[in-house]
Point group: C2
Chain length 343, copies 2
């Protein structure tokens, strides 16, 4: 049976997942017996459309690329009504994030779960601010709340912990959660000073004009909070997490680390000590013998400390158009695989 | 509903998984709503037992530790009859491996799948020699053929590819698949010669008295074959894989690598070039900027090259009593999670 998808947000990520699914259509059918149909799309810029029998996505991608509004299957339903009334099995929530209120993504997620539709989201809001509530609602309604894309989208961390690492109790997570700062620290090792390397990172599009989100550690802090709440079951608030960025790291610090066979990394940590769960973000000198020390450039990595296996580390790309698209795809497949025997 | 388990083999791994399940009983119930019952055990040394209402595993563990035969719930059924007639949902195949014939594990797996019981095995035989046949039979009977423990048991590779990385097409796998040789190469870097470090590895129990399986690369070759056949869908035969071990690596080679910012690793490779799948095992100089270069000691690691994410690397422990026990546990949980909504 075809998985029917509603898409909230048709920006970079929304268009990206459409392209990935269209490109991989035959592969996904052959390998996973997975077939899909988009039935609803709502976007602030392009308009809202609904067709219970399936939308013409290639035509919509062309319209979006030409910056034109949608012309087919238009609907006047507002987002929440569309989510509630459409015949989708899964709602992909890919709108913007207000990390103070979580809106409007939280309303979208609630509407979807209430009407027994699975949620797949790369939106940090609902996961960082309301994970326990969303998860409980999803469980109650017998659907899934899938959030692989919210933390290091290009490296499947959440699904790794929930699936292949299931059975292990995780006592600590330490990771390089922000590719921009890891790129900057890698370049500083080659001789550039902080201000110079920040300029290069901005020119390359890694860092924004206002770089605080990356260099002050705020982006990593959001991910630490999500990991603490999801993987450890904490009720951590984002603003309670101690956070120090890389702005004070000097060329002398870089040299000092080199001299002691170590390397500076901006490390996000979540730790469970006898049930007390703490989180933090700060630069640390990591010994070169640790797997995290070798992670260079705009790459992300996490080490899980477990009871049965000791340390398990995963290294991969962070977020990006294709990477975040992947995270949506893998969650759609998880939903497909977990329900295919039941329906 | 309790998952009913039959255990073929009550040696190190069989006893290990029993202890892990007993120790984690409450955690598994709370976290995954997972409950289990052992209903049958067959072991060459301790005898065969069957009780459809559940065995007294703590008592059996005590008997095994005292090297006594089982005394309760004895049965005269041979292994295949026991597998076929017992009321287990899952058969854990943990007997020995004959890598030439695959017996007797292949017969056990076939009997289980034919009678619609899931298989969980850490036994390389069925996976390396008959994967396509076993998988097809499992699919036909609507049950699972789970083999996480056959390759790098302590690092969840198979389930990572099948689950969290689903949707990615994998064109290449390169990995450190043998902890013993990785330990030896790591130690040689500190100054020991090959013969000296082999002696140390044998004293530590990493290498066997006849070390060929490790140092000639045969163990890694078995894993390359399994990965090729499972992950890439190849029909590779173990003896067709070109294989060179570490026996010819000299202290001079080690120094030469150091001088070029590289490090020797015994690398297993599987590659899919336009549908032609090849495998090999040989020592390679890996640049220190690659995640595999930093993997030291008796640790394993694999890098998957994918279409959507580029390289994703996972680093963790290899096989061992607890690690292989983990691989069985995680497969039991995968079966539980994939079937809990259906029954």
């Amino acid at each position: 049976m075809k998985q029917k998808i509603a898409l909230l947000g048709f920006g970079t990520v929304g268009q990206g997942i459409c392209e990935i699914l269209l490109n991989k259509k035959e592969y996904l059918k052959e390998k996973y017996n997975y077939e899909f149909e988009f039935v609803a799309v709502a976007d602030f810029a392009f308009g809202s459309v609904y067709n219970p029998n399936g939308l013409n996505i290639p035509a919509m991608l062309e319209e979006a690329k030409a910056k034109k509004k949608f012309t087919r299957d238009l609907t006047t339903l507002d987002n929440v009504s569309l989510i509630t009334k459409c015949n989708a099995d899964v709602v992909c929530e890919l709108t913007y994030t207000d990390l103070d209120t979580g809106g409007p993504a939280i309303e979208h997620c609630k509407a979807a779960l209430e009407s027994k539709k699975h949620i797949v989201t790369s939106n940090k809001g609902p996961a960082a601010l309301r994970y326990p509530e969303m998860k409980a609602l999803a469980d109650k309604k017998g659907v899934k709340f899938m959030i692989e894309g919210t933390v290091v989208a290009g490296t499947p961390i959440i699904n790794l912990v929930e699936g292949p690492l299931a059975g292990c109790e995780i006592s600590k997570i330490r990771g390089i959660l922000n590719g921009t700062t890891n790129y900057m620290l890698s370049e500083m090792e080659k001789g550039m000073g902080y201000d110079e390397v920040l300029k290069v990172a901005q020119d390359l599009g890694y860092a924004e004009a206002n770089p605080a989100g990356d260099v002050e550690g705020y982006d990593a802090r959001g991910k630490v909070t999500i990991l603490a709440n999801i993987v450890m079951g904490a009720s951590m608030k984002i603003n309670e997490v101690p956070c120090r960025g890389i702005t004070k790291i000097t060329s002398e610090d870089i040299q000092k680390a080199k001299d002691t066979n170590a390397r500076w990394k901006l490390i996000g940590t979540v730790e469970n000590k006898d049930g007390e769960i703490t989180g933090s973000v700060s630069p640390e000198m990591i010994d070169l013998s640790h797997p995290l020390a070798g992670v260079m450039g705009a790459t992300n990595a996490l080490t899980f400390t477990t009871d049965l296996l000791g340390d398990v580390t995963i290294v991969g790309p962070g977020a990006g158009r294709i990477e975040t698209g992947f995270s949506i795809l893998t969650d759609l497949l998880q939903i497909h695989n977990s329900s295919c025997n039941c329906k």
